[in-house]
Amino acid sequence: MNISRVGLILLIIGLVLLLNSWSSHVPRYVSSSFGKAEANETLSYSILIAPVGIGNVTIGSRQITGSSMPPELGMNKPIVLPVHLVVKSPANQRLIEKDVVTPYSNQIYFTERGEYTVHITNKGTEASPIPTGLIFLETNDNSNRETDKFNLSIILLISGLTLVCISLVTKAIKNK
């Protein structure tokens, strides 16, 4: 296989990846709740996420999106509860560690692909569910694109373009 074909194939893959990283969107809202936490018990959540930039981690908010559930059922009622919150990055760095009262939201900049862990300790006196969610405010904005895919697509495009150019120049020199 000659150099121009390799370049063209890299260019194609780079372009496909660029289109994908440009057009795919993060969901506006993701939420999960796993059982109740007794007093002084800790619930641990894993956020499996791509490097999509700024997102809001919400604790104790029971918002249900895209649901036709009537508000009178009380599902949108937030949980008021004192908790101790720890959020760790995939590299095990503590991004947040503080005592807060739910419903609570904190902005996190997701820069790594992998598992962010959220540990929430119930500091109240009664058992309570502590739902955890993620809100992305600007889903149609470039700030929530997958940066690693975007960067790789740029690298592939540049390398493909370079190889195609080298092959064209070599051909031109040979023909001369």
Binding site: I9, S24, V26, L48, I49, E112, E115, D148
Partner: protein, 271 residues
Amino acid sequence: MGNLAGINSSLALLKAEMKKVWSRPILELAVILIALISVSAIQTLVQIEDQSKSQLAFQLLVGNGVSAIMTRQMQPLIIFCSILMSLSFARDYEQGLMQSMLSLPISRTSLFTMKFLAVILPLTFLSWGFVIFFSILNYYSNLFLVIQFVIFALPIALLALMFYGGLATIVSLVIKRTIPSALTAMLTGFFFWFITTLDTQAIGNTAEYLALTPYKTPLVLLDRTMGVIFPPGSLEISLPIWVFVTLTLIYASIFVLLSFVYFVRRFEVRE
């Protein structure tokens, strides 16, 4: 010495055949189509899980991701298998190249094998390459797990492609004309896909057995090896895995053997 010369001439034939079949712009078109289809199967990774079950959830995510890419790839692979096999066999016959090849000191067995492999092997590696590339790209935070999963996709892709390759070969050898054989092989391939889209409302209880069709069986086998979850009580989960292994092997070899026997024993060229 004679064996070595035979191997060398077979390899030279394989190389020449690959160069001819995958000439510009066939490879580039295959890359575009398979890359576009594969990338449409992956979704942005955003999920919240119970930490005690996060490893299991990640395994499911990777398994579903690999399965989704492979499933999406099957349709462009059917198209390329049909076109390339008819280019390799029927066009060579139409242009009189087959007559020249058969007059060379190469056995029909070698000729058939090399022509078949020249299409199937690059397609398999192209398909597998994109499965690896997009799976690693989406889940590289647990690289070891991803590699464990994508390894299963290689034999499954090869066996699935052998079915469509064998089908396209026998069609090309019988029809002996490029366009009609490519279209016939494509339509027959798509028929196998189409029947898997039918549900119980359309064909009643027979729909439960669609997991045993040539299109679905290798994909179910891949899902089973990766631990993808099926609805409880479905045929995909209730049958032992060896049933799917056996069926996949039977499907993979049936048309290949038929076309091989036909090419070696019955295939005649006009003067």
